[in-house]
């Protein structure tokens, strides 16, 4: 298998995929616990509009995606905090607006071509070393901030009202969480694409939750599942040669989730807590 990564493009793809695979579950755990699993999708759709606006403004697409993802994430969080994003309708409107705006701007610029597929579904093989290191740096910042504020983010994820009643700066911590999500979505854009990146926030964490009895354990298992998904999916794509790695990575994570669910049930049968009233 090591022979697969002797080519430089494959090595770059591995480095980028590993970074996103390891970082995404660290943020995803807090999102899933708070039932915000779809917010990564919303930010991903907005980032597509950011890519188009970046091209329109004459800057690299990644910076356009980052700027719009961060602004969009802050706006989504404000709507959620004010109770205006309670239903899935508001989030759906954001999805459609982001994708449609991106498509309109790109087609107006005559840039609605094959490269759009790379933005939506990833283009791991086409990343340069500078793009790869940017992804690694974004992922490192995300993990470092998530670990730095781990306990505070956990208390808010556990019970927002009690966190507020205990004097924690809940609004600032919520903004931090969506900002980390925006950074991660931007980092994962080249790896698995804006349509699929949110799956790496959610599926490895869901798989980890089948094997753990604690939040910390779930995050740990989630990182393991994220790394296995990205390496497994990339290896599958390289071996077959014609498959797009972004999609194989996501399918690998789904397979791991199914495996963890079956394995977790067996483990649960062996481990039953003492439930007394």
């Amino acid at each position: 298998m090591i022979g697969l990564f002797t080519e430089e493009f494959a090595l770059r793809a591995l480095v980028a995929a590993l970074a996103v695979g390891a970082a995404a579950p660290v943020v995803g755990g807090f999102l899933v616990q708070r039932r915000l699993s779809l917010i990564g999708d919303g930010i991903g759709h907005l980032a597509f509009a950011g890519v188009a606006l970046g091209i329109l403004a004459g800057v690299a697409p990644v910076w356009g995606a980052l700027a719009v993802a961060l602004l969009g994430a802050a706006a989504l969080e404000r709507l959620r905090a004010r109770g205006r994003l309670a239903g899935d309708l508001s989030l759906a409107l954001v999805f459609y607006a982001g994708i449609a705006l991106g498509a309109v701007v790109l087609s107006a610029l005559d840039r609605f071509d094959g490269s759009v597929l790379g933005v939506l579904f990833g283009s791991l093989y086409a990343t340069s070393w500078s793009e790869t290191w940017l992804m690694v740096a974004l992922c490192a910042v995300v993990v470092a901030l998530a670990l730095l504020f781990y306990r505070e983010l956990f208390v808010v994820a556990l019970d927002e009202e009690t966190a507020r009643a205990s004097g924690l700066p809940v609004d600032s911590l919520n903004l931090l969480l969506v900002a980390l999500t925006a950074l991660l979505v931007t980092a994962g854009m080249r790896a698995v694409g804006l349509l699929l990146v949110a799956s790496l926030l959610v599926v490895p964490v869901a798989a980890g939750s089948r094997l753990a009895h604690s939040f910390r354990g779930t995050l740990g298992w989630g990182v393991v599942m994220g790394v296995l998904s990205t390496v497994g999916g990339l290896v599958a794509a390289l071996l077959v040669g014609t498959l797009t790695p972004g999609a194989t990575i996501v399918l690998a994570s789904i397979l791991l989730f199914v495996g963890a669910t079956v394995g977790g049930r067996r483990a649960a049968r062996r481990h039953r807590p003492v439930v007394r009233s």
Partner: protein, 238 residues
Amino acid sequence: MSVSGTAPTVELSGVRFGYGPSPVLDGADLVLHPGDFVVLSGPNGSGKSTLLRLCLGLLRPQAGTVRVLGSSPRDPEVLRRIGYAPQGFRGASSLPVSVTEVVAAGLVPGKPLLGRMPRGGRRSVSAALEAVGLGDLSAECLFELSGGQQQRAVLARAMVGDPPLLLLDEPTTGIDQSLRPAFVAELSRRAERGVTIIAVSHDPDDFHEAVERILLIDGGRIRSLTHDEFHDHLEIRP
């Protein structure tokens, strides 16, 4: 064991609050000192939980003043010194969370942002778990436990930082009758050490041995009753 010579821990003066046109609390007055242990009772919708939420700064009075630990309850420094236990675990249950993690969460507000957890944090968590009889379930997932066990974990979270004020919403609900006296005795020991405790309860008899005064919210105001007076009130207005 009230220490009435000291500054009040909780002070409500002429508080008015309502969710609609008719107020839930109207001219509510209350003064509690360090060591006061009271039960707050009243029918559904009488304003018991509202009073706790006012003390936690989650609601603002429409008239009157609320002061907690000598300051506004919207001051984060004040809130960090309050132990609050809602009725049951009210947070999200999407992912597994261990009992230890839930209780240790009670120490987080007391530490500086980006700072380390307080020394002896693990010992405090263990002691809080033992106090509510959950010592042997510390590693279990909270959501695999019974409602009563979850309630005890929430109580341990409120008590773990040894806060000078405990606000407990229906703390004995879901807890086995046989375990209630030990839990109430634990609260009494804390009150003797100067902790002020407000326990919202539909069943003040659970606290008969520990509490002399029952605070009844009646017509928007707070009345202080003995156990006998409270039962007389129930007979008049069942």
